[in-house]
Symmetry: C2
Subunit: 111 residues, 2 copies
DNA sequence: CTCGTTGCTACATTTAATGTAGCGCCACGC
DNA sequence: GCGTGGCGCTACATTAAATGTAGCAACGAG
């Protein structure tokens, strides 16, 4: 499996177009990925604290996502635990508007 | 299955905190969801055109995501096919910075 | 009627995620 | 020294989600 374009980042699907946004969309579109970045927004967490923050998600998948995010350069493991890199913080900034949007969304009828 | 807080939107996991961002993060963190919104950015697509745009993803999951997105109020089915609602376009706007970020990301070493 | 399209569904297979347990490692208290 | 308890991380059986293929009913054009 694992269709990859030669120009794309390894381990990231949907990158054949060469459009980096596709690779990013794919990476972020995996379960817990967005959540992990969100939970690390205020500082580093140990793997176990992160697990608690992520509603006791299985360590298996957390570890998988953490590895992917480290390979992507968004997360790093420091003495304080897992934390966002400078790049990761930049990424987080990009979905700050999302937070404001979510507030509005919850007020207008979605379903 | 389907843990739902009474205050949260139906069909959206991780909403027990009552924080709408969690519900949104969960919804967007399902496979193809981000991609679908992205592909509809320039206008409505028929279900089959969307399938083509989404790299021949299975109609099963596309239909599932489309239904979720319609229930969330981000997508609607018009005469031209599936298109973003006003709310959906707002949502898309929020991850426009993501696109610019993706460009930068692809240039600095990720892995 | 037939052909081609639409949105949508059934179902068997494959893949991803879950839940639980436990590893090796290192710092502590005793 | 020797347990205790934390850390990051992994194994593995179970369950849930996604895939791939096929095909449905409905509408319009020829």
């Amino acid at each position: 499996m694992a269709k990859q374009a030669p120009t794309a980042k390894p381990g990231v699907r949907g990158s054949r177009s060469g459009r980096p946004i596709m690779a990013l969309l794919d990476l972020l579109g995996r379960r817990w990925t967005l959540r992990i970045i969100w939970e690390l927004r205020e500082g580093a967490l140990t793997s176990r604290a992160l697990r608690t923050a992520c509603d006791e998600a299985s360590p298996t998948i957390l570890q998988t996502r953490l590895t992917e995010l480290r390979e992507a350069g968004f997360v790093e493991l420091t003495d304080d635990g897992y934390g966002l890199t400078a790049l990761g913080r930049e990424l987080f900034q990009t979905f700050t508007p999302l937070s404001r949007f979510a507030e509005r969304w919850s007020k207008q009828g979605g379903s």
